[in-house]
């Protein structure tokens, strides 16, 4: 449906109550795949990370990755879930070329983690608690590339290529209960919920959590219930929405689209839908009914997983501080304004600033350097800021500035030296001879030289035209190649005029 034909959002909310549900797939960053020893690596040559098991060759058998179980339990615990005393894998049977065995090894009626919750805070300050039904383990599918068609989609393609490198990569699928009462916040709830899940998996270190690489993928279920009715509407499931902003946009679009269809007397088809980033619209995928028959049955090639209670408690003790609580604590400790703090969070530099403060820098200096010059240089190089310098180096740089050894301007040169691999800040200062000249004698000599060529300056200052000092200061700074404290030069020039 073209966007022009959608019902106005406020009007849609007047007529209907949106009901949401989310399935978030988290790709774990284990060294090897879920059921075989192949490397779990992104970006390798097609079908190089494969073996008889993940290629579904005759005779291949799965072996469970213990690290993936551990990551799944930690994620379950971080979502406040119960961890099953025993659980099984199950086969989900369906034919598709990206699924080598033509069944996906997943979990069905016995997920490893169940019944948790996650409280999120919206920009308005509204708190929403999302009830989690389950978090279960499964394997990812391979990647299909459709060739020869205009759209890159399967329809109209001449042929398709399959890369099974991703086939068998461990996933945790987090399924929410139905979310009611979202009202006009529904799109923001979607974005904030997925952001919160992403933040948790990142804090746990169980996933690379890069949405653009598909490490975190969201399927958003949306249905509309007419005001005054207690019957749920038919839902659609928009698949693989791969950015936070898209989650928000897709939900908003579906609310407006469904409202338009329903108001015009139409019915919503229960189906999956594709999200189109370019047009900001969804289009029909395949019909999906509650009676879809995947012929689940317990995976006979694997034995049940029975994590001991002792192990679960050991893993619980390894959980990091919940990200939301940590943010609140750090903002208070650092005395940042909401804007300053959001800047750090949005730049994903919380860890770096925290470590820099721990290494002795003031919070404001740490923030200024990381979100300022370092982020700028990283952006130029197209890399992440944390790959350029370490928090310890930034703290050392800040200390050199605080002690007067460097000006901010010299500090930026030192930073460039550090990034260029010339050593730690003190070594760069030494090697490049960048320290501020603090010897008044040297400065006075330079001032005398400058005055010799501009003899009227002192008279102007004495006449009250203090700004005339600027020309001398500029000349001195130039002569000293910037390695002087401009404030001190100004003081000395004014002293001379007062003589």
């Amino acid at each position: 449906m073209a966007k022009a034909n959608l019902m106005d959002y406020d009007k849609a909310l007047e007529l209907f109550e949106p009901v949401l549900g989310f399935e978030v797939h988290v790709e774990l960053n284990t060294a090897t795949k879920m059921f075989c020893g192949c490397a779990n690596e992104f970006g390798q040559g097609a079908n190089t990370n494969t073996c008889p098991t993940c290629l579904g060759l005759p005779g291949g058998l799965p072996q469970v990755n213990g690290k993936a179980i551990e990551s799944s339990i930690r994620l379950g615990l971080a979502l406040g879930c119960e961890i099953a005393e025993t659980c099984r894998f199950a086969r989900k049977n369906y034919f598709y070329p990206d699924t080598a065995k033509n069944f996906q090894t997943s979990q069905y009626d016995e997920p490893i983690a169940y019944e948790g919750s996650l409280t999120i805070e919206l920009e308005s300050g509204r708190q929403v608690t999302v009830a989690i039904e389950r978090a279960h383990m499964e394997e990812d599918a391979g990647k299909l590339t459709h060739k020869g068609g205009a759209s890159g989609r399967i329809q109209g393609a001449d042929y398709s290529l399959v890369d099974y490198n991703r086939g068998g990569v461990p996933l945790v699928e987090i399924v929410t209960h139905m979310i009611e009462g979202a009202e006009a916040d529904a799109p923001e709830i979607g974005r904030t919920y997925v952001a919160a899940v992403r933040e948790i998996v990142k804090a746990l270190g169980v996933s690379n959590a890069r949405m653009e690489e598909g490490n975190v993928r969201c399927d958003a279920n949306v249905s509309l219930r007419p005001r005054g009715s207690d019957t749920l509407g038919t839902r659609t499931e928009t698949k693989n929405v791969n950015s936070l902003r898209s989650v928000e946009r897709a939900i908003r679009y579906e609310i407006q689209r469904q409202a338009q269809v329903l108001s015009a007397g139409g019915t919503i088809v229960q189906e999956t839908r594709h999200w189109h980033e370019d047009t900001g619209t969804t289009s029909p995928g395949r019909p999906k009914s509650d009676a879809d028959d995947y012929r689940y049955f317990p995976e006979p090639d694997l034995v049940p997983v029975a994590p001991s209670r002792e192990w679960v408690e050991e893993l619980r003790a390894t959980l990091p501080e919940p990200p939301a609580e940590r943010r609140k604590r750090l903002q208070a400790e650092w005395e940042f304004s909401a804007l300053e703090f959001q800047d750090v969070v949005n730049s994903e530099l919380l860890d770096q600033v925290e470590a820099t403060v721990a290494a002795g820098a003031s919070a404001q200096s740490a923030r200024k350097w990381w979100t300022g010059e370092i982020a700028r240089l990283a952006n130029v190089d197209g890399v992440s800021p944390e790959t350029l310098v370490s928090p310890g180096q930034v703290a050392e740089l800040v200390a050199l500035i605080d002690s007067g050894t460097l000006t901010d301007r010299l500090g930026r040169q030192v930073l460039e030296g550090v990034i260029a691999g010339e050593g730690n800040p003190a070594q760069v200062v030494e090697a490049r001879g960048l320290a501020v000249v603090s010897d008044d004698g040297a400065l006075i000599a330079a001032i005398d030289d400058a005055l010799a060529s501009q003899p009227d300056v002192l008279a102007k200052i004495r006449d009250g035209k203090v700004q005339a000092a600027g020309a001398v200061i500029g000349a001195v700074m130039k002569a000293m190649r910037g390695q002087a404290d401009a404030a001190r030069v100004r003081e000395l020039v004014l002293e001379r005029a007062a003589e």
Binding site: P52, L55, G56, L57, P58, G59, G60, L61, P62, Q63, V64, R91, N93, F95, P97, A100, K101, N102, F103, S160, V162, A291, D293, R295, Y296, F297, P300, D301, L302, V303
Partner: protein, 516 residues
């Protein structure tokens, strides 16, 4: 000069060890035997003559150099075509895998190579091990060496016929519902289904994962035990493999040859399988009763036990097995390996190519079981079929537990009848399925089972088999008692059973290399 094809693997390994025979000689005579008789028997789908001779020469070289070699080093072995082999095509008896060269060896095949056995080739089987006669092979049936008009049992009819026709002293089989033990019974050979998890399934093309087990096939209990020792043990590639330190099965078999090995042993006769039920051939029952009398005379305590839930075992098996098979066989879709067929008309889409390939590549019995299994797992039927079958399975396990509280070993005929004629039951599938009534309970419960010759049925002069079953993990007990009973029976006959097999017509009826 001793005919090297007629002696046991144990005897042959003795001759190899003391240098009186080379592995190349032993291998060559078996290849010659295959060339002479396999045109009639059709035990082999593929014979790797050159590779086998090269392997044998290598073993001889290393033996001459003084390398320490395993007990079966240099002994030829046949491999059921359900096991993947990196140097031989692997078809599982199906057109859908015709010509497929696997990129890897099954764990048991790797173990054979590491122990320096000499693989001769791949043996025929019912397609994907679905059958009791080898008539469901896409490459034509195997013929029983005792009577070429008759079936050699199934699904491992090729492995059983190969040892019974003296084409190989040893073979590997796989047993999902009796595919090692029933062919052993009808060909007068010996076969062992290990405890579930005792032998790795990695590289065994799965039919019913929770029932499949790879095992040894031979002409004597001792030879079976020697091969068992080569293939058993934990494998991290198979999650259902048991992390158990298995005792030597050969040592257990040797213990059975001591005087009085049967004295005081409590032998349980399963009343439901004792031969009184419908479908049991009179001659089978007669030989079974005679064997029980011999056991009593040897000091064993023969006790009747009841396993009331065994009567549901075939029904449960034909739900669990097709259900798992329908899922296991889903991977045969033409995308990554094997046959590819385009639809005769209409658009070429992946779905339609998969459908056309499976339609062309699978035989009728495979299709039948995929349909049965798909149905049994369907929403709304799962609880009634697969769910109920799993409950029956638990009841059968309890029957075994209760019985083993009273006895050390359970016995029954290995199969209710002697070998039937090729074509006789192909249109009466229920009759075919019923043939596995004696062997299926052990698969459902995961317990070990040994089948060994029990004499020739008086009415048709064809072999009958005795089955022994022990609690899970007690495989060694079966080898001790099996060796004792084998010795007892052979003493009563005055010869081995296999020595009574008729001579086969020999002639250059089969090319030594390649598929046929």
């Amino acid at each position: 000069m001793t005919d090297l094809t007629r002696i046991s693997a144990a005897e042959l390994s003795g001759l190899l060890a003391d240098g009186s025979v080379s592995s190349v000689e032993a291998t060559r005579v078996h290849l010659e035997r295959i060339a002479a008789v396999d045109g009639d028997v059709h035990a082999f789908l593929h014979v790797a003559a050159e590779t086998a001779l090269a392997t044998a020469a290598d073993v001889d070289r290393r033996r001459a150099a003084g390398d320490r070699l395993g007990p079966l080093a240099g002994v030829p072995v046949a491999i059921k075509d359900v096991l993947v082999t990196a140097d031989m095509p692997t078809t599982a008896g199906s057109k859908i895998l015709e010509g497929w060269m696997p990129p890897y060896d099954a764990t048991v095949v790797r173990k054979l190579r590491e122990s320096d056995l000499v693989p001769l080739g791949k043996t025929n089987m019912d397609e994907f091990a679905m059958g009791s006669s080898t008539e469901h092979s896409a490459y034509g049936p195997t013929h029983n060496p005792w009577d070429l008009e008759r079936i050699p049992g199934g699904s491992g009819g090729g492995s059983a016929a190969a040892v019974a026709a003296f084409e190989a002293p040893l073979a590997l089989g796989s047993d999902t519902g009796g595919s090692i033990r029933q062919p052993a019974a009808v060909t007068g050979s010996v076969g062992f289904k290990p405890t579930y998890g005792g032998v790795s399934r990695y590289g065994a093309i799965a039919m019913a994962s929770s029932l499949d087990q790879v095992g040894p096939v031979a002409r004597t209990v001792m030879d079976t035990a020697l091969l068992h020792d080569v293939i058993a043990g934990h494998d991290q590639m198979d999650a259902t493999s048991l992390a158990t330190d298995w005792p030597s099965m050969a040592a257990a078999a040797t213990a059975g040859l001591a005087d009085g090995a049967l004295k005081g042993v409590r032998v349980g006769v399963i009343q439901e399988l004792a031969g009184n039920a419908d479908g049991f051939q009179a001659g089978v029952k007669q030989r079974f009763d005679e064997t029980l009398a011999l056991l009593s005379a040897a000091g064993a305590e023969v006790i009747g036990v009841s396993c009331p839930n065994f009567e549901y075992s075939i029904a449960a098996y034909y739900l669990i097995h097709p259900a798992e098979a329908s899922s296991n066989l889903a991977r045969f879709d033409s995308v990554r390996f094997g046959l590819r067929e385009n639809p005769a008309d209409g658009p070429i889409t992946s779905e339609r190519v998969m459908s056309a390939t499976r339609g062309a590549g699978f035989g009728p019995e495979v299709k039948r079981r995929i349909i049965l299994g798909t149905y049994a797992l369907s929403a709304g039927y799962y609880d009634a079929y697969y769910g109920s079958a799993q409950k029956v399975r638990t009841l059968i396990q309890r029957d075994f537990q209760a019985a083993f509280e009273k006895v050390d070993v359970l016995v029954s005929p290995s199969a209710p009848t002697t070998a039937f004629k090729i074509g006789e039951k192909i249109d009466d599938l229920l009759a075919m399925y019923i043939n596995d009534i004696t062997t299926i309970p052990a698969n459902l419960a995961g317990v070990p089972g040994l089948g060994l010759p029990m004499g020739l049925a008086p009415e048709d002069g064809l072999p009958t088999g005795l089955q022994l079953m022990a609690p899970a993990m007690q495989d060694a007990r079966l080898y001790t008692l099996g060796a004792a009973i084998e010795q007892l029976l052979e003493a009563s006959w005055g010869h081995t059973l296999i020595s009574q097999a008729p001579e086969l017509r020999t002639g250059n009826t089969r090319s030594a290399e390649g598929n046929n």
